[in-house]
């Protein structure tokens, strides 16, 4: 591995990462903008209002992609954590840290849009249903991980501590996935991943899928940008430390 580094080995070099992500980012941003515009057009002018839910069904086009990103964000944190614990991959650390606030935001967005939809549909902003509760716990896990990053100053130690916690917390993801099947309460079971019979009419399904892809692309744009910022932040930190050292050495020489 030391002689011929593979793709992931080369990614460990922050300069290579900055170059690659800098090349990819404009294209990805453009793709996101186009997908978002197409998706929003479809949502507002193509998708019909539901015969029961009326126009409130449009909330779903934000809610479902946010909920999906809440879970995908945590999966990315978990995979990156495994990468940083096993291979000590320096960019895995950065990837895990950068994904946390973005994932937390989408989790919060899923919770808020869900409760805005719940008020007219279920008659209440919040129910202690299994699915809602487990997403709320996912949000708390995000907050705990972010707090742990803040509490430990040294980045490498904070990264490994957060990685351990993230892997322990990843036990929560399957619980979210299966909670609807286990408890069968108010929240509807998954309707997208059923292959046998389409539960959603194409006029709703197509805009929803476009929005899903658009949101996913948006996540990666934000994630790559946050990772680049984190790499640069660490460089600035290192530069400042060397400046302080140099200043101290200068003072020592004068004294």
């Amino acid at each position: 591995m030391a002689d011929t580094p593979g793709f992931f080995g080369r990614l460990a070099n922050p300069t290579f990462f900055l170059k690659l992500s800098g090349a990819v980012l404009p294209w990805l941003t453009g793709l996101t903008v186009i997908l978002m515009l197409v998706g929003l057009y479809l949502v507002f002018f193509f998708a019909p209002p539901d015969y029961q839910q009326g126009e409130t069904v449009k909330i779903m086009f934000i809610h479902a992609p946010s909920a999906w990103l809440a879970m995908m964000g945590y999966s990315i944190v978990t995979i990156a954590s495994i990468g940083s614990l096993i291979w000590r991959h320096p960019m895995a650390d950065v990837a895990a840290k950068a994904a946390l606030p973005i994932g937390a935001c989408f989790t919060l967005l899923a919770l808020i849009t869900g409760s805005l939809w719940g008020k007219p549909m279920w008659g209440t902003y919040w129910v202690w249903d299994a699915r809602l509760t487990s997403v709320l716990i996912l949000f708390f896990l995000y907050l705990g991980l972010m707090a742990l990053w803040q509490a430990i100053e040294e980045p490498s130690r904070a990264g490994r501590a957060a990685a351990i916690l993230a892997i322990v917390g990843s036990v929560n993801l399957p619980i979210i996935k299966f909670s609807v099947d286990w408890w069968h309460t108010l929240h509807q079971p998954a309707s997208l991943t059923r292959l046998d019979a389409p539960a959603i009419h194409p006029s709703i399904l197509i805009p929803l899928l476009v929005m899903m892809v658009a949101f996913t692309a948006l996540f990666f744009v934000l994630h790559l940008t946050a990772m680049r910022t984190e790499v640069l932040r660490r460089r600035v930190q290192a530069l400042r430390l060397t400046q302080v050292d140099a200043a101290r050495a200068g003072e020592g020489a004068r004294a």
Binding site: F140, A147, I164, V168, V171, N172
Partner: protein, 222 residues
């Protein structure tokens, strides 16, 4: 194995002789359970309906208070480094300390629970179930807590951070412990299915948590 039992016995003895560790946890448990009826009103029907939940949540909080000390004292006086250098793998050290926490703090809280249940008018047929589910569930609380204690070892504001990190992980234990009790009190759900999941949660935690705790301890000791 010998060293493992010795370590458990040492930690239990230290906690019991420290004075205040066990009684603080018990006192906190009593106060939390006693203060809730003041907020909710003295309606005995309401209290008996929410008794399982109140007893479990208060026990969680009382146990959480002392979880921080699983590794803290030993890190401060350097014992932890000596133990880490010894023959026992760090995973077993973490397991021994979590087990000692369960014996010295968890078990007394469980034994106090039926007495506090009298205050909340818990139905008479639920007392044995209360003891059974709590004896089964509390090891998971100690072992998960040891992971949080190891992660926050030596940090400023470690105690508050510990609660933020660990409480979300306690949710499955809480849910299945209470649903097993409610199955007996109100029916019609099956007691056994919830109880067996609670057993599974505890067994999985007892096996997996020491690995995570040991990994976290290596960070603080390095």
């Amino acid at each position: 194995m010998h060293a493992f039992i010795r370590l458990v016995a040492r930690d239990v003895r230290l906690t019991l002789r420290e004075g205040g560790a066990v009684s603080t946890a018990l006192g906190f448990y009593l106060v939390v359970v006693a203060i809730l009826p003041l907020g909710l009103g003295p309606d005995l029907n309401l209290l008996s309906r929410i008794a399982p939940g109140v007893l479990w949540v208060a026990l969680l909080l009382a146990a959480l208070l002392s979880v921080e000390r699983i590794f803290h004292n030993d890190l401060e006086d350097g014992t932890l480094e000596v133990i880490a250098l010894g023959p026992l793998p760090l995973e077993l050290v973490a397991a021994a300390k979590a087990l000692a926490h369960w014996i010295s703090i968890g078990l007394p809280l469980v034994i106090a629970a039926p007495i506090l249940a009298l205050l909340l008018n818990l139905p008479a047929n639920a007392f044995w179930i209360l003891l059974l589910t709590m004896v089964t569930g509390t090891p998971a609380i100690s072992f998960l807590g040891s992971v949080g204690a190891a992660l926050t070892l030596g940090l400023r504001r470690g105690g508050l951070l510990l609660a933020l990190l660990v409480l979300p992980l306690y949710v499955p234990v809480l849910v299945f412990g209470i649903s097993a009790m409610n199955a007996v009190i109100t029916g019609p759900a099956s007691f056994l299915s919830s109880y067996l999941i609670l057993c599974a949660l505890t067994l999985a935690t007892v096996v997996l948590a020491p690995i995570a705790a040991a990994a976290a301890l290596r960070l603080s000791l390095a």
